[in-house]
Symmetry: C2
Amino acid sequence: MASSWMSIPPNSPFSLSNIPFGIISTAPDSTPRPAIAIGPWALDLHVFASNKGFSHLPEITPHLSVFSSPTLNAFAALGRSTTSAVRTYLQSIFDENTPYPDILRGNPELRATALIHQSHVTMHLPFTITDYTDFYVGLNHALNCTRILRGIGSLQPNYRHLPVGYHGRASSVVVSGTPIRRPSGQILNPAAETPEVMFSACRKLDFELELGCFVAKGNAHGEPVPINEAESYLFGVVLLNDWSARDIQAWEMVPLGPFNAKNFATSVSPWVVTMEALEPFLVPSMERGRSVLKYLAEKRKANVFDINLEVDVTTPAGTTKTVCHTSGRHLLFSFPQMLAHHTVGGCPFNTGDLIGSGTISGADDPATFGSLLENTENGTKAHVFNEEERRTFLQDGDTVTFRGICGEGEYGLVGFGECQGKILPAVEFKA
Amino acid sequence: MASSWMSIPPNSPFSLSNIPFGIISTAPDSTPRPAIAIGPWALDLHVFASNKGFSHLPEITPHLSVFSSPTLNAFAALGRSTTSAVRTYLQSIFDENTPYPDILRGNPELRATALIHQSHVTMHLPFTITDYTDFYVGLNHALNCTRILRGIGSLQPNYRHLPVGYHGRASSVVVSGTPIRRPSGQILNPAAETPEVMFSACRKLDFELELGCFVAKGNAHGEPVPINEAESYLFGVVLLNDWSARDIQAWEMVPLGPFNAKNFATSVSPWVVTMEALEPFLVPSMERGRSVLKYLAEKRKANVFDINLEVDVTTPAGTTKTVCHTSGRHLLFSFPQMLAHHTVGGCPFNTGDLIGSGTISGADDPATFGSLLENTENGTKAHVFNEEERRTFLQDGDTVTFRGICGEGEYGLVGFGECQGKILPAVEFKA
C-alpha cells in the first residue's frame, strides 16, 4: 500500500488509493472548478494546472482548459484512458516516493494555493446531468416491496431477465447538503372509509439508498453499447438518495411508474469515485438463477462493488440512529449491464448522464434494508431513538446521511464521504 | 383577417396569423439560427436582427444576441411578454398596411438576404431539451389500450384525477426528417407455447400522435407553478411522434412504465407554433365527470386546442394512406394542468423542457385513432393500401407523416407543417 508525504489520517475515505474528482468553490474564489480529494484536503485542479502541475503529463497539455470548467463533463469526455492517466499521475504526485518532488512536495507556494482544507470548500453538483435513469436492480429491495405492499413473494416475470428501470428527472438532482423540501400532492385520504382523493403534504417521506454512476462517454443515436465495452463508458460512482414520497407514489404509479413521488429531489454525494479506484472491490453480482441474453452477458464474473454502506437519521433534537448497514454487492445487474440494456434499442447517452442502481438492501435482516418503507414495514414498526423520539417515516427537520466506504483495514480506504439532506417543511399551497 | 404584402398561398399553414419560430441553417451558412415561417418562406432572424430589422421594437434591442443562438432557448427565456411582442412586431412588418415599410417591404437588399424559401433551409431541433415528460391524457387512447390489451373497459382509479405521465428520454428527441432506426431488445417469443424471452428486432413498431409543448420559463426547485399562471410558462406547441415498440413495451413495462419501448426516438415538428397563435382555437377539454383538486382547477373553460390532425403512412413503393384524422381537443387535461401537476411537489423546469400530451384519439371510429395499436386492434386488422400492400405495424422503409392545422377556411390558417420519420432497418447485433 503506497503512502503519501501528506499527512492522511488512517481512516480517511480519501486515501492515496482513491483520488475522487469533484467540483469546488471557495470564499476567495466563488467560481466552481474541478478538484480531487486527498485526505482532509482538496487539490484545486484549476490552480494546479495553471501552475505547471501537469508538466510531467504531456498528454493532458492540450486539454488543460477542462480544469477551468464549472463541471466535470469536459474532463470526463476526454475518455477513460486520459482521465485514468490523470488520476495515476496525481497519485504519483502525492506518493511519498514521488518522482516529481518539484511539482508540489517541494513547492510550498503551490501547496499554499492549491491545497485547501475541505472544511473551507463548498461542493457543487459534479456534472451537468442531461438525462437521469433510475434502475431497480436491488433484488432484496424489490422482494421486500412486493411482500410489504402487495403481500406476495414473487416478482414480475421480467425482473431477472433485464435490469428494470425508469427515466428520472435530471433537473431535480442536487448535491449533498442541499435541503429537501417535503413535497405535496395527491394522495388517498388514509382516514376515509371509501377511497377519497385529497391534496396533502407527503405523510410518508422516505429515502432510498442507492449508488449512482456517471457516464464518461456517449454513444451515437441508434448505436448500442456492446456489453463488454460498457465499463469503459463509465466515469465513476457516487452515493445517491432517491428521496421517495410513498403516499404520492402509491396513488400515482399505476400504470406508468413513479412520477411526482420521485421527481421532487434526488441527492448525490459530491466526490465521484472513479471506476479505477473501485476495481479492487469488485465482487460477483447476486445469483440470478438463470442466464441472461447475450447482449447482457459480461465476460467478467465480478461486476458489482463491495461497498460498506450506512444510513443515519438525525432528529432535530440531534439524536442520531444508524438505520441501515449494508453492501453495494446486493445488486442483480452491474452498471455496464444497465448501460448495455439502456442502449440496446439505440438510446443515446451523453457525458454526464446519471444512472441510479435502485435501492440496495441486504437479505432478511431489517437492519440491512435501504429504505424506511422496508425497515419499518411500511410505517408499522418504528425506529426507537429514545423515549421521546421514534420514526416511521421522515419528519421535518430530520437529516438523512449516507456513508460508503470500501476496504476493511485502517489504510488505503476508498470512500465516498457523505450524501446528506435535511427535510424542510412543505410549502404552503397557493392557488 | 389581415393580409400581407407577401404572396402567401391561401392554404399555407404559415399565414400572417401564425408566425411560428424554428431553427434553420442553409447551404451558404451552416450555422443554426432562429427564424420564423411566413408562407413558403423563412425569415432569417439573425440576418434580420443584424440589419436593423428590429429598430422599431426598442424592448428587444438589449437582447438581439438571442437571434444568433443555435436554439430558441435564449429567445424563449426572455419571457412571454417579450416573445409575444416580437411576434406581433413581425406580423406588423409583413402586414399589407405595415407601419414600417422601410424595414423589409421597401428594402429589397434585406428581402434578398433575410427571406429564404423553405425548400432551401435545413430545420434543426428548435430547443436544447434538458428534460422531457410524456403524459397520457388522451382519454380515448387510454380506453382503447385498456380494452385492446387487457380486455377491460375501465381505467385505473387515478386516471381522471390527475394527468398521468412518465419521464421520457430527452437525448432521443429528434427533429422531423431524422430517420428512425428500428430498435431491438427483449421480447416474448410470440411463437413459443410457454413464455420464452428472446432478443429480436421490434416486430410491432408503432407511432403515437401527440402534441408537444415547450416550456419558456422555469420554476425554482421547490416552488410549484400555480395553475392560473401556468399558461404564461409555456412557449408553444409542436406535433410529436412518440415512436413505440409494442412488443418491447409489453414485456418491460410492469411495474415501472415504458422504457426501451420509447427511448429509442421521439420526433417533433420543426416550427414551434406559439401559444398566442393557438389561442383562437381553444376549446374545452374532454368531460371529466368529476371536479379536480384546487391546484388543477383552471379559471378558463377552454383550455385545449381544436387542431385538425392527420397521419399518413407511405410505403417504400410510394403508396400513401391516411390512417388517422382526429383533433387535438381529445385531451382530458390541458398543458397548463400538466405543468401545474408536474411541479406541485416542487419539481423544477428549465427553459426548453418538453411536455408530450399523450396519444390523441377520437371516440369509437378507428379512423380517428392515433396509433396503429388502436386502429389495427393490436395488429389484427390490417390497413389495406392496395392488393399488394397491407400494414398492421410499420415495416422498414415506411414513412410516417403527421400534419396539423387550425382553421376551417382558406385564409389565416395556423398550421404546424409536418412531423415525419422514415423507418430504417434494425442494426445488426454485435456482442
